[in-house]
Symmetry: none
Subunit: 207 residues, 4 copies
DNA sequence: CATGAATGAGGGTTCATTCAT
DNA sequence: GATGAATGAACCCTCATTCAT
């Protein structure tokens, strides 16, 4: 049996994503999670802190996967970048709901803890790209040395914007929301697209 | 003297951008706009409709500029795309406050009217890119025929993500918030970056 | 027609006296005052501030009466003290409900504004007694120079304790709560008693 | 090791005195007493009953001391009254915290048990004073037969009002809260003052 | 046409207490 | 006997909106 604490967390994630943090009431969360309303304060202290706890959980999950890739000796810099994109794409797709919240918070939230998470996450990625781009350039794999901040903006921006646009896209092509084959193709194309853009920016040419 | 109606509209735009739609109360708007609180319902019917009115105003402003560019006969397809990017970049920078709201609404809002605006806007751009890409390809200016939806995602996604990231970026480089020279350079670099990415995607080569 | 603002104030005074500030809910006040619950925040900002507003009103009322007595030239120091006791006794009896709140707040409240009121009120009385005692002594009306703080403690303490004890006293003598003749006698005796105690302390002898 | 039951009782006494009964939550009490929150209901049944238990303890302590004085044959009526004042003053000072609660409850509480305690206590004192005043008058020690209820009001009222006023008094004279020498003098003066007032009321003259 | 007093619903949170373990 | 997770009621307050003037 899943604990009440987790029920609340998942119910909140769902509702925050659907309606936004402010529009979601603690009463709705408690209803969705099938717990008494006062359990939210009991476990998390406040609605605000429930959001932070959600970030705690999700950000902790994604903590390690960068390092795992970086330490590998069996693949070159481009393969590492390629792997990061693969992992990030699938993670974003899998946790669409959470990343929707993350984007909203990035735009409006003033919560210190969350800002810290977002900042650390971003700086972590920038550092990784910086190192890989530099090494790849030194190893003659990459011919160009692009602005890393803008490269990152393009990578993340494309992914998020494409993800957000999918429902409208499906509606436009009259696909049902549950058509996962369409989604599979869409994300596959997106993945290839992003890699192509990055290849161009880094001056990487497949042999 | 600017009308009370406009005062409310501009006050709302500012506050919605700073705090989000939900967190902004009609009381605050009325205070910021120096009008009585009931004026909001009086002029706009509801807080919800005030947001729609804001979109009415801003979207109407940006309606025409695409057409102006498209009908020009003196420039080629790349130059047209280049011009669109220039205009859009400067508009987004100028109306940062509004586009912050737009992004948030894109993520959470269920307001039909606003969804319609966003959809129309997006489809309009897609149509334009589609036509320009096709013509450019036929005219041998572009060598490639990329997925337009993803090209647009990259264009808009990069621009928004880069725009949102600017404050953090400035903080990182210990620049003051009012340092507009830094901003000028940043947006200039962004502009070049986006154009480079599009050149690559379209297979455009400067002679 | 009495204003809603005043209705709330009087309802609050009654309930705070009967049940204490904490035990009185804003719902009860609104019910007693026949106004919507949100009017309390509307007019007074908060429940806390409603209490302060009550003190504002009552303390403002009692501001002046000391001065009126002091400036009189037609009566001597003892007569002035005697008059102060008369006025204060009748005021405390009349505003029994408010002075009940005042005593409670004196014991527990941490509200700055109220503490300030109580302090100022007390210091005002001490100053008056000090001056009258000194002048009366110089004018050979009083033979003794007692500790003024303790004299005040006896005066106020006796009055409040006697006032608080009246219901139990009446119950003990099997009087109905509405028997005002009993009250009249009680307060008359109390008045004489207090004056006698003060005469003794000041060394005043009626000729 | 002191029992958890006592820990709760003492923690409650402290907090009730500082913040009032209503403003003190069971959570705070449990935290202060270092016990689980449910222990309060477990041991005392309810928060209300915890207060009653506190009165049980403190009132039981003060039960006997009156009798001890009364049965003494070696001292006269005035000396007995004098002794009662001494004992009561030192007890009130020692249990300042409890007597603060007692005063507050006297003003607001509707708890039957507590009302009974207060009534019994008061009637006990009145009976004692009545007897001593009568005997002393018959024995020609006292020349006057004052209203005993008002005499008691003056005695208790002065003591409580003076006690409550001490912190403000010290602040006024810029003494630190921990200056016990000041307190010693203050209570000594208070003791003498009360005795003087009673001497006057009873018509007692030291030989 | 414009106002501001007034509304009722709902917000997040805290409360004393209970009950399965 | 002792625990702490869990409860539901009630708390004060703010909200967007209305309506008599």
């Amino acid at each position: 049996m899943i604990s009440k604490e987790h029920n609340i967390l998942f119910a909140a994630e769902k509702l925050f994503s659907e309606k936004g943090f402010e529009k979601t009431s603690t009463r709705e969360i408690s209803r969705e999670a099938n717990v008494n309303i006062s359990m939210i304060s009991y476990y998390f202290g406040s609605k605000e802190n429930l959001l932070v706890s959600l970030f705690d959980m999700r950000m902790a999950e994604s903590q390690s996967f960068l390092d795992e890739i970086l330490i590998r000796q069996d693949i070159n810099e481009w393969q590492k970048i390629s792997l990061i994109i693969d992992r990030y794409t699938s993670r974003v797709r899998e946790l669409k709901v959470f990343y929707n919240i993350l984007q909203t918070e990035q735009l409006t939230n003033k919560n210190e803890q969350i800002i810290k998470y977002l900042k650390n996450s971003k700086l972590g990625y920038l550092k990784v790209y910086e190192d890989l781009a530099k090494q790849g350039f030194e190893n003659k794999i990459f011919k160009l040395r692009p602005n890393i901040a803008l490269l990152h903006a393009t990578l993340i921006g494309t992914m998020f914007y494409a993800m957000n646009g999918l429902p409208m896209y499906k509606e436009y092509y009259k696909k049902t929301a549950s058509d996962t084959t369409f989604d599979d193709n869409y994300y596959a194309e997106l993945n290839i697209h992003i890699k192509q853009v990055l290849k161009n920016l880094l001056g990487y040419e497949e042999n």
